[in-house]
Symmetry: C3
Subunit: 300 residues, 3 copies
């Protein structure tokens, strides 16, 4: 897939919806295309590639030789691709997929040896956590399209997306325990996606579960034969791209805001959001179009 | 189904178990039969109908022409039916169902246009949220019996019930996004019933899931062929009606109280509840009857 | 199964990882083998039996005549077996199973009549809750191996384990409501393992669910034919026993610590845990062994 020129433009300021905590990386800048370019050898493939059409941005993990490992460079590239023009009305939905037979094998273990040391390790895990939270805080829905094995932080990436569609040949594992590194950060996303016993059996044994088991336990929302994977995912993405961006963004933000609250607070927040939604231009346009039996025209 | 005369008697005071927050409607009264009657035309069907026999109250959404839309009148009628003599020993369990091929299509969109304005919209969503929380705070189990499509707030109503039984032909959707009104209040109940990815795919695409998928993901607890729906639901209701009302009420209240707590607090609360349960007349009667190998006689 | 001599040695001091709240039993001591021995008649079977080999401890509920009821003596014996040398490097994983056709029938109802009184009832429920929380706070994974019926606190015990494997003939129920004693403490564990509607239908009707339903709803993580139950469970246990005990212990503690937190706090805690894990001797050994393509040698 061809990368859209300029998609990785340097963002000097983060958007307001990206809430940064006290432990966010000190540098607010994201990897610039120039800097990343000079850091890579010509023969090395770029870690991600992107294209965008009709409101749908495809971000592809593009280092199949290294099983799309989430190296620090890959994580920064992914962060940059997700953040790029996030507030643009031209962006409606993001699809993340992997090139080759492995969706992603998780962290690059060569970055986690004693040689790099404590500070480097901290940066790797903080950047990874930031990318995962970014998905949830992003204004547009982010879909994982999975065709193959996803392990450790690769499995975490899928669990962190809003929607996940997988081919039947996909499988999912958190095998860190095999190499003495318990998948504690992947467990944050996994433990919020599947029942506790399923999460712990995966974490304690490191053994993979199939796509069907992942569906059964809620890690993904759809399983299809490999040849239908792209069509099914694109059908969902096109549907989302046809909707009002402002309505979807309000709905997504409200969903994650109310979910951890007690029931009364959740209903207070969402009743407010419903009234706010009705006051949006697209809120009234949608209802009027429905009552007038015509297609709505969104202003986003 | 015939309505029980007097079932909608005006309740001047809410029961103590209905905890009202600061944003509850200013008027504490519920719709009186007289007021509701005069507001409706002769030709218009009553929005709900009820009957009660052997401790089982059936509440039926009875406006099939309007796909049992949860208009403000329907919500108030439903609230009144649920609250009616809630503390009576004669009431053991409530079943909510819908007349016609649609269980409920959610809010009446004609009530949500710009004409009604901000205050009316606020009342609609607050009344709806109040009904949903009422189900959880009610002393007796409330079962949804679903035969057909349930969308938006109709799907929320099912997700809010304690138990839900559905026929195979039923389906469930939160399609508000199609008309520019994200199902944020339904998402409160849906997001607490199914895995996050399933909820978000439903919310972002508006597409329905089948009864089997709803069972798989925990939105409902049982799926049966249409012709067995009433028998299966009545079997559950009769079983509950045969038990001690005071024991069931204590158990239901304790369940929702402990669920959001940390584990230690939850065990503290429930250990206390078990000791209190044993001190109930029906607690000791039940255990004595078991040890004496006889049928217990409940005092409720 | 033969009991390992000395496994029940009296523990004068509880380990630091067993966090005791203000309502923990006043006596910090656990049942000594001598005391328990003298309290039992020769003809009465010991309530639990244990054996330990190659890092795997088997604890068997061994009172099949009483359907492995969780009497106060059984709970204390189980607590003692779980706590015994919990900090020893020789212990890697615990399996809990039941002798005979019933895994466990829950509390001994003869201990819950009016004769024993309030204080005794309180001790029973507090001891039970303590055992359930102990499982989660224990440094090694604890697996339930279920072959048969598990009811009430027996079902709670399974829901409280980290992993649960069951034979196809197993079933699960919380039938307390039938005898006027709502399963409120079992509901703590059940309500955190299965969807709310499934939990409430089980609690309100007392009716059992099958092993397949338990798998569907997340109460257990694997179902196998009866003849494969021990092999499957042992395969999981052996896998865990082959891993670094210190890494698994850090991972388990971190998992339960992060699960109830908000996402940002959870990622903060776990990113820290990942860095700490890498600093462990077994953390670096595992990664070095992987990069050098050799088998790791754990120091635990």
């Amino acid at each position: 897939m061809a990368a859209v020129a300029g998609l990785r433009a340097f963002r000097a300021k983060g958007p307001t919806w990206l809430r940064r905590g006290p432990w966010a990386p000190r540098s607010a800048g994201f990897c610039s295309p120039g800097a990343a370019g000079t850091a890579r050898l010509e023969s090395e493939p770029r870690p991600t590639s992107t294209r965008q059409r009709d409101g749908i941005r495809n971000i592809v993990l593009s280092n199949p030789k290294k099983r799309n490992a989430l190296s620090l460079a890959m994580l920064k590239s992914l962060r940059s691709d997700i953040l790029h023009e996030a507030e643009s009305k031209d962006l409606k939905v993001i699809i993340i997929s992997g090139e080759g037979p492995v969706f992603s094998s998780g962290h690059d273990l060569k970055e986690l040896t004693g040689e790099q040391g404590h500070d480097y390790h901290t940066e790797v895990f903080q950047t990874c956590s930031e990318v995962m939270m970014l998905i949830q805080n992003h204004p547009v829905p982010i879909i994982a399209m999975v065709n193959g094995l996803a392990t450790a932080a690769g499995c975490q990436l899928i669990a962190s997306c809003d929607i996940a569609v997988a081919s039947e040949r996909s499988s999912f594992a958190t095998p860190g325990v095999n190499i003495g590194l318990f998948c504690s950060t992947p467990a944050v996303a996994l433990g919020r996606a599947v029942p506790r016993k399923v999460a712990l059996e995966m974490l304690f044994t490191g053994e993979p579960i199939s796509a069907q088991e992942a569906l059964l336990h809620g890690l993904i929302s759809k399983v299809v034969p490999e040849e239908q994977l792209e069509d099914t995912t694109m059908r969902i993405a096109k549907k989302i791209a046809s909707l009002s961006r402002s309505v979807v963004a309000l709905g997504k933000a409200t969903f994650y805001k109310q979910l951890p609250q007690d029931l009364r607070t959740a209903y207070y927040l969402t009743s407010q959001a419903m009234v706010d939604n009705l006051a949006l231009q697209d809120g009234q346009e949608g209802i009027n179009a429905f009552i007038q039996k015509r297609k709505p025209i969104w202003s986003h």
